[in-house]
Symmetry: C2
Subunit: 340 residues, 2 copies
DNA sequence: ACGAAAACCTAGCACGTGCTAGTCTTTAGG
DNA sequence: CCTAAAGACTAGCACGTGCTAGGTTTTCGT
């Protein structure tokens, strides 16, 4: 029973027709009488037959599949993957996932996707060197999500980190904050724009002298140690903008332990609007990069590049939005001036 | 360039050998001189060739792939998927993922996996009716992770919910708690064992009269409303055992807002040891179902059923462990008797 | 230098399906 | 009743690879 999965032929002989007719029925093509069609599907279900995708795409010379590289450990990947399925399905494509794990690096995962003869690949926050991406993009349409790349390397969808952070700074300034610190992430290139956004926004508000930058990364620990160095200062800023949600959480936690209240004493913002930020427990004001919009744009770019081989790789910038929650409020001096 | 991906034949003509020799080289078989082998790989890399997995598994009549059904929205799935990759790779198998999304139900996803001719499927917390699972298991080895099923339906790996909750209760009793409430989850069958574990553990400790059960589910809101009903009681229990981490978080959050401290006033435990529980912010004592152990067991079961077609479906129960963190401590009366 | 084995290489069929080009049967129009 | 068209169905090749069964060259022991 295990050794042999049924084929079209098995269904055909059971019904008493030719294999080709079964093929027509499964492809929903004309030329099969409705009674025969019914008998075919019935027999197929009895035998547990389903078409062999490998054989089909081999013969068709097109798989109808888009490969997706994602890292399940990265918190925002799930939302994007989910939205990609919907977006691809709407346009008649299927997805095949390539996961990044401790035992599989990007090269392995991409090679596997190519092995499946996907017609294009969508890479979520890839770290593959640019020249390799360029090489890859010569073979098939490639769309990168989230990573800033030089013009024309491949299709690209990313959100405007500069505007995202600027929105956070604007929000805080509007609340009355002036001493606004920033916890940056050094390790990844996509964070350069966010950093830039902080600096220019502070400038724009006439606060260049209040710029205060602290090193951090993607961990809660880094947020906690950022909190330490702020607490050690003579004057604690009234607000802290973080370049990601995890660092923001670590920071808040340390501040609370030090007896400060959020947002009464210090306002904090995150970035990503990850599931963590949405927890009622955390309730973190955060910059949202809409996963539906990113995914739709990525699939659109891939579809365009697949249908028109000569079209230039499409690049699209998504405008992030600030989701205001409970971790931001009026600064403490203001609160003292206008209590409640 | 896009219309035609290179084949073995292209590589062969470029090197000046037969297609079969290229095949030997890529399968790492003997019979290819090392110099030729080198030239073949060089040409392949220049052309961007990688073997066509579809054609290969078609000819081999075995795909070497295990299908994995998972729900990216479910918090514990990521860890399991990651561990599955490692476990499968160690045993010479690859994984192909089938994601559950809003637009794809289990039937769709499983049908797709079958279309890829995976040699077996591992289903993470499937909700497919038992009779359909039984039918499926007749066609190929099926292993379910997490769901309680009647004996013999298919391979099964799950953790002992009864012992898991019992461990939480034991821990609290050891700390001195006697008034221990339980927030249950009604919606899913795998939670029946946990409920049972609570009742029997309370019994065993001679506390059947202290049993206090509150309805809940997988959401933070349900935890919050559970907190409400506890706060409305004349005597608040000193500890609350929750059947999942999300409910525990909602509960804690509401307690804190009501001015209670955790664990000084109330101890709380969760279940799943999800990433959320590990956040320094939350620091939740929780029952851990080791994903590595579950995954390894699942792959082992699948491999056994694949290699020995007649072997009975394997069923394995994993013993969960309690991870003690900061949300549990001595009960308030005890703490008053022995301060610090 | 000879035979044999080892090393290196190739021909041809098969896997399950899609597609083109048909064949055979039924129906419709005069 | 004849013809043509439409409907229902089928024969056979092709897709890219693996495998069996060979073929040819090189190497080695004596």
């Amino acid at each position: 029973m295990i050794s042999k999965r049924p084929t079209m032929m098995d269904v055909a002989t059971r019904v008493g027709v030719s294999r080709q007719l079964v093929g027509l029925a499964f492809r929903n093509e004309a030329g099969v009488s409705s009674s025969t069609r019914e008998r075919i599907f019935e027999a197929a279900s009895e035998l547990g037959y389903s078409p062999d995708i490998a054989a089909r795409s081999l013969r068709r010379r097109s798989s109808n599949y888009i490969g997706v590289l994602f890292n399940p450990a990265h918190s925002s990947a799930d939302d994007i993957v989910e939205a990609l399925y919907a977006a691809a399905h709407e346009r008649g494509y299927n997805l095949i996932l390539g996961a990044l794990t401790a035992t599989r690096d990007e090269r392995d995962a991409i090679t596997e996707l190519l092995g499946f003869r996907t017609e294009s690949v969508i890479l979520i926050s890839p770290e593959t060197p640019v020249n390799e991406l360029r090489k890859l993009a010569k073979r098939l349409p490639v769309v990168s999500i989230g990573r800033p790349l030089p013009q024309g390397v491949c299709g690209a969808v990313r959100s405007d980190g500069q505007r995202g952070i600027a929105a956070a700074v604007d929000h805080l300034v509007e609340l009355g904050h002036r001493d606004i610190a920033y916890v940056l992430t050094r390790s990844l290139p996509e964070f350069a724009a966010r950093h830039q956004g902080y600096v220019t926004a502070m400038d724009r508000h006439g606060l260049p002298s209040r710029v205060r930058e602290i090193d951090g990364d993607f961990t809660e620990e880094s947020g906690a140690s950022a909190a330490e160095s702020l607490l050690a200062e003579p004057v604690m800023p009234t607000a802290v903008v973080c370049s990601n949600d995890h660092a923001a959480m670590g920071l808040i936690n340390r501040l609370l332990r030090a007896g400060l209240r959020v947002p009464e004493d210090v306002s904090v913002t995150g970035y990503d609007d990850s599931r963590i930020a949405r927890l009622s427990f955390v309730d973190l004001t955060s910059v949202r990069q809409d996963p539906e919009e990113m995914s739709t744009a990525a699939v659109e770019a891939a579809v365009q590049m697949m249908s028109d081989e000569e079209s230039a790789p499409r690049e699209r910038m998504i405008v992030p939005t600030l989701v205001i929650r409970g971790s931001t409020g009026q600064p403490r001096s203001e609160a003292q001036l206008h209590p409640r």
